[in-house]
């Protein structure tokens, strides 16, 4: 428990020093130590407290920079040409500039989650009081806030406790952002260390946000059997008024739900969501509907189905109000971070706001009171729905054919498309009455509508794609498990050993956005590949949604086919973006529950433990945002590798190990203090894959850890080799680096692999008790 702004007033005090009268003492922050475990070495770490750990990681995984362009244009000295060794007017070179941009992205992400958490905690303290207890899993979860405890040494118990920790995260984000100013940090590795700090802070911010909302809103508490709910375009009953909520910050959506319940309107109005607000809305009430990930925004609005559109924050298309106006749907912005140029009507009577929206006196309003949003959105939807009649703006087939005839074949649409989709070809065929090519683009379209912006004759090409696929889209209806939240301690007790020993081959975390190279189906494919192989598959955010939007031949989705518990072969929807720390938290809790390590403010030791023992890999196949960058950074600092899809290369920096550089892959044996070669495990920390096949094979490789037992390593090698053979058609060329002893070799492959190993001059080597930290050597007190 931490208390801030403690004030003591003493009327009269007599001490050996003298007599005091009217003494007032103010203490900024009082920190109570968690008595279960001692306070570790780095409570509330500053931006340099973990620098040594960062430098260890960064020397193993040095940055590989991929600059977008040759210049820096961040200050009025510039533009500065930084090409080929040149320095800018401030003295920065290209490497420092690239790492500075990565830090900016990570700061934006961390600030976004911290700001999100701050708004949530502030709102929930107002609603429920600062003493409202935190409860993410009842008796099943003892360590409520593993990330926060690890970073700060605090074990928050109430909403009020979170307030204090947010002070710290806000301070750190401010310091980090200041490092990006001209003439501050100049060394790329120090910038990179700060990136890792931003990622760690981001994890704390996210954890606080989810702790607060789980506790106050009674979201599922680590529930493996959280209910299944509906996802997809076709989940709404379009005969009813439809309220569409988009974004990440759920209080206004919960108030809509409550208003409808309180006024006996529930069931008469459909409440559907896009992106993480949708996921969190179904955690609040599984009867709510999810339309899909962020790429579904434009297409669903243009269909005309929503009668009212409510946007909160993060990843919202910023000109949605234009399309809302075109379909005649009132637009309600509800976050001070996203005002959309609308008049602030927070303090106006609801009757007046409703009247203005229904009569179209205003296209939209800003309302910063969630409760009022609940009332206004509900009433407006009910009143406006009969007059709107679900009027959409998809063109007719005839209009598509006629419009396409005007195409100048300039190719600008394809050149603007992130996925280089052959839109000109589709237009050409459409002009001849054949819409099949447009329909075939549906799966790969990320919904950005850059094609439309680029078109010199203003063809609504995104709508052409959607209209051509309308028959298919309208039937889209799938099942997704609602976000379960934290991993239970009892689950960790069951799997901690098998994970650390390598017998459960790994934990695969599918996270992030929907900027996919070939549609969301690939995410489902990756997930199922590993679920079938008895990995533990966890998912959050848009990836959790995309995974649900594929059915097998029996009409079942992954969430219907695989159990939701944290165990081999489980497929878990953890929740929204801010639920990601439960995945990191599971790795942290393994160190506590299985290995009895002290978590309190003991970041370096636990990260070292996870890096060498817990075979977890993050995959952000459609990573797009700055939040995705900071989420990945948080995993890196814990030593957990992250693979991104091909678009992820645009984060401009990878963290790559070099498998053949033997000197990079030594650890200390904690038993003896000797330095021991362990092979390149895990080989990379941040990696953009070109194809899903590459990502799948690499994931199976990256789960290997220095601590794997021979049995565990044999299981991991079996999966890696099998996948390599199936998807690459060959045995891995670098196999010899990952086999330490003959007993590591899978029995069924022994003879063949031994021959291969002999060709490479392979020799058996020791399996140490691995650590990168000298202080963990037992003879030195570790």
């Amino acid at each position: 428990m931490t208390v801030k702004n403690v004030k003591l007033q003493i009327d009269e005090l007599e001490t050996g020093l003298g007599k005091f009268k009217g003494l007032n003492v103010t203490i900024g922050r009082l920190i109570e130590e968690n008595l279960d475990q001692p306070l570790g070495p780095t409570p509330f770490p500053s931006i340099t407290d973990l620098r040594n750990w960062d430098r260890k990681l960064l020397s193993r995984y040095p940055p590989f920079y991929l600059p977008f362009c040759d210049v820096c244009c961040l200050c009025t000295f510039g533009k500065c040409d930084l090409s080929q060794g040149k320095r800018g007017a401030c003295g920065l070179d290209m490497s420092a500039q690239q790492s500075r941009i990565v830090l900016l992205a990570a700061c934006i992400g961390a600030a976004t989650h911290t700001g999100h958490a701050r708004h949530l905690v502030h709102h929930l303290i107002e609603e429920y009081g600062g003493n409202h207890p935190l409860n993410v899993g009842g008796d099943e979860v003892d360590i409520d806030a593993p990330v926060t405890t690890l970073v700060t040494g605090q074990d928050p118990k109430t909403l009020g406790d979170l307030d204090v920790i947010l002070d710290y995260t806000e301070q750190e984000v401010t310091h980090l952002l200041s490092c990006c100013h001209t003439g501050m940090e100049g060394d790329n590795i120090d910038f990179e260390s700060k990136v890792l700090h931003a990622g760690m802070i981001d994890q704390v911010g996210m954890e606080i946000a989810d702790l607060a909302q789980i506790s106050a809103y009674n979201f599922p508490r680590g529930d493996p059997d959280a209910p299944l709910t509906d996802i997809g375009w076709g989940v709404c009953d379009t005969s009813k008024p439809v309220i569409l909520v988009i974004g990440h910050n759920v209080p206004p959506a919960t108030e809509i739900n409550d208003y409808l319940l309180d006024h006996k309107l529930y069931g008469k109005v459909e409440v559907a969501g896009i992106c993480c607000t949708a996921i969190d809305m179904t955690r609040y009430n599984p009867g709510a509907k999810i339309i899909g990930p962020i790429s579904w925004q434009l297409r669903f609005i243009r269909s005309g189905i929503p009668d009212v559109i409510v946007v909160d924050e993060q990843c919202i298309r910023t000109n949605l109000i234009e399309d809302a106006q075109k379909i005649g749907a009132p637009f309600i912005a509800v976050s001070e971070k996203n005002c959309q140029g609308l008049d602030d009507r927070t303090n106006d009577p609801a009757d007046e706001i409703v009247e203005d929206l229904i009569t179209k006196k205003v296209p939209g309003v800003l309302i910063l009171d969630p409760e009022k949003v609940g009332e206004v959105a509900s009433r407006v939807a009910i009143e406006i729905s009969p007059q709107r009649k679900k009027k959409g703006i998809f063109p007719s087939i005839e209009e598509i054919v006629e419009g396409s005839k005007g195409c100048r074949s300039c190719l600008e649409c394809q050149r603007a498309c992130p996925n280089n989709l052959p839109i000109p070809e589709a237009v050409k065929m459409a002009a001849e009455g054949d819409l099949s090519k447009f329909s075939s683009l549906y799966e790969d379209c990320v919904g950005c509508a850059r094609c439309e912006s680029a078109c010199p004759i203003n063809l609504p090409l995104h709508s052409y794609i959607m209209k051509s696929s309308e028959d298919r889209i309208e039937k889209e209806k799938f099942k997704i498990r609602t976000g379960r939240g934290a991993i239970q301690d009892i689950e960790i007790r069951r799997v901690g050993g098998p994970i650390v020993l390598g017998e459960i081959p790994g934990v695969v975390a599918l996270v992030g956005c929907a900027n996919y190279p070939h549609g969301g189906e690939e995410v489902a494919e990756i997930a199922e590949e590993f679920a079938k192989r008895n990995f533990i598959v966890t998912a959050t955010g848009c990836a959790a949604m995309s995974m649900a939007m594929v059915k097998d031949e029996d009409g079942l989705t992954l969430y219907e086919k695989y159990p939701g518990n944290f165990d081999a072969g489980g497929v878990l929807n953890i929740g929204s973006c801010v639920s990601n720390p439960h995945i990191a938290g599971a790795a942290i809790k393994i160190a506590r529950i299985f290995a009895k390590r002290n978590l309190n403010a003991n970041y370096e030791e636990i990260a070292d433990y996870i890096h060498n023992r817990v075979g977890a890999v993050g995959i952000a196949w459609g990573a797009m945002s700055q939040k995705a960058a900071s989420i990945a950074s948080g995993f890196w600092r814990l030593g957990i590798p992250v693979i991104v899809g091909p678009h992820g290369i645009k984060y401009r920096r990878m963290l790559l190990g070099r498998r053949e550089r033997e000197e990079d892959w030594y650890v200390y044996d904690a038993r003896t203090g000797e330095k021991v070669y362990v092979g390149p495990v895990p080989e990379h920390l941040f990696y953009a894959a070109e194809t899903k096949e590459e990502a799948i094979v690499l994931t199976a490789k990256l789960v290997m850890r220095a601590n794997d037992t021979s049995k565990g390593r044999a299981i991991k090698l079996t999966h890696w080799i099998d996948l390599h053979r199936r998807l690459y058609g060959t045995l891995p060329d670098d196999l010899h680096l990952y086999v330490r002893k003959k007993s590591d070799i899978p029995l069924t492959m022994r003879q063949e692999l031994l021959e291969r190993l002999e060709e490479k001059g392979w020799k058996e080597r020791e399996i140490p008790d691995p650590t990168l930290l000298k202080r963990m050597i037992r003879s030195e007190g570790g």
Binding site: C69, L82, A416, Y728
Partner: protein, 184 residues
Amino acid sequence: MSKTEPWQTAEIAGPKKAFVLSKTIVVSSMIKRAKRPLLVVGHESLNEEINGEKQIDYMIKLAEKGKIPIVATAHMIGEFNKRGYSPASSFSLIEIGERLRDPDWMGLDGEGQYDLVLMMGFPYYMSWLVFSSLKHYALRGDKYLTTVSVDRYYQPHASWSFPNLSLEEWEENISSMIKELEAE
């Protein structure tokens, strides 16, 4: 659209841009002169077909005639093997990019770094960024590595690049290079 604009409209490179290969003999001569050339081929070489052959098949012919070792990226090694061709190595694009950037890397055969790198078959933005990294970092003595895009889109971060080409124009160019290399 000019043939020498970046294919993806917003990808504006900066002051230093690729020379355009208007005659294939320029790149064929570079290949002949190079001591250590390398051809990196990605999965998009399977996407398009012309005259009954995929682009990967043209790359194999180019490599054979030019005596250029091929690095197959992603899962492409299997595709080469299916065609009876053994690439020099299988690396991911970013792994080979990172090694080519490093002046001290000793190459696939331990004989030293490469002096000419050709690339084909990647998503445009992936090539864009790897070419950029090589442009800025791949020092060879006091000069930078020469890179060539033999894909059908203009890549300004390369040292040399084909302009934006139709598939038919691309096929003509590659076939012309194959003939020029054969002529030796």
